[in-house]
Amino acid sequence: MNRFLLPLGIFIVLVAFLAIGLNLNPREVPSPLIGKPAPAFALPQLHKPEASFSPKDLQGKVWLLNVWASWCVSCRQEHPLLVDLSRKGIVPIYGLNYKDPREDALRWLKRYGDPYVLSIVDAEGRIGIDYGVYGVPETYVIDRAGVIRYKQIGPVTEDVLEETILPLVAELSK
């Protein structure tokens, strides 16, 4: 009896580890920026290149920063959700147009709808580096003090929105 108990125990532990490992997403690297102030920048706006925008302009507000690009396929997947969210007006969404030619970006927004209060242009991806962007789309929840509270890597799904982002926004807006 005892002879089988030990191998069985080892087997169960191994299976448990493998099951956990299989359910983790290796592409999701936890960001060290969570709980830190959102990196400052001043970038030209997509629609008004002569005007610039800086996160400082939004001090005292809870907002979402969504990194997107017209060449990004999964952006199309999350886009209807963002359009819907912007229509409800729960939280303002600002777009960071990442390494994208301006005409392409504008055409894309015309075609799929523009959920952004405004988009800023990061043509060379430098601000992307400051924010630790490595897989567009990415979405940041930034609180009133300008601190990053959450980062979604990859497309926002309905589940993520309902279970994580919206409750967090509600809590931060209290």
């Binding site: 690297v29 060290p32 060379e124 991806g125 580096i129 897989g135």
Partner: protein, 173 residues
Amino acid sequence: MKNPLPAVTRRHGGFRFFAILCFLWVSAAQPVSAREAAPTAADVAVEKRMVAISEELRCLVCQNESLAGSQADLAKDLRREIREQIAQGRSDQEILDFMTGRYGDFVRYRPPLKGTTFLLWFGPFLLLVAGIAALAIILRRRGRRVVTAAALSADEQQQAEALLRLGEEEGKP
């Protein structure tokens, strides 16, 4: 498409084949010799340092490649960033800190020793120690079993000796 080879050579199948081979060889060798469009990096020392640093870093897009070897857009951008920071006179450590500050310890192939990376650094050694301990226990148990099996009762001892003696006598001429 126009044939790039002169018409004369077209008749000579062998030469043509050879020319194609040469072309393939040259085009295959190119990515190795031309690192990437960075003609401004005449400063070989900067380039060397950039490669040394980026070999320590993981490309986040294709996670099993180093930043030095990856052709992902982000990797190119980050190499540009490293180059610029070297030009600004930053130390290697400052550049590594810049990267970990944005992408976390995960970008480093040799992450710093911390509470969270303890298992990563010492896990293999713990497993090794556990393995050696298990081996020692099993070997000791087996040794004990052999000893108990070898112990003969007095009767058996006598019988064995008698048999051995018999064998010895038979062996004599």
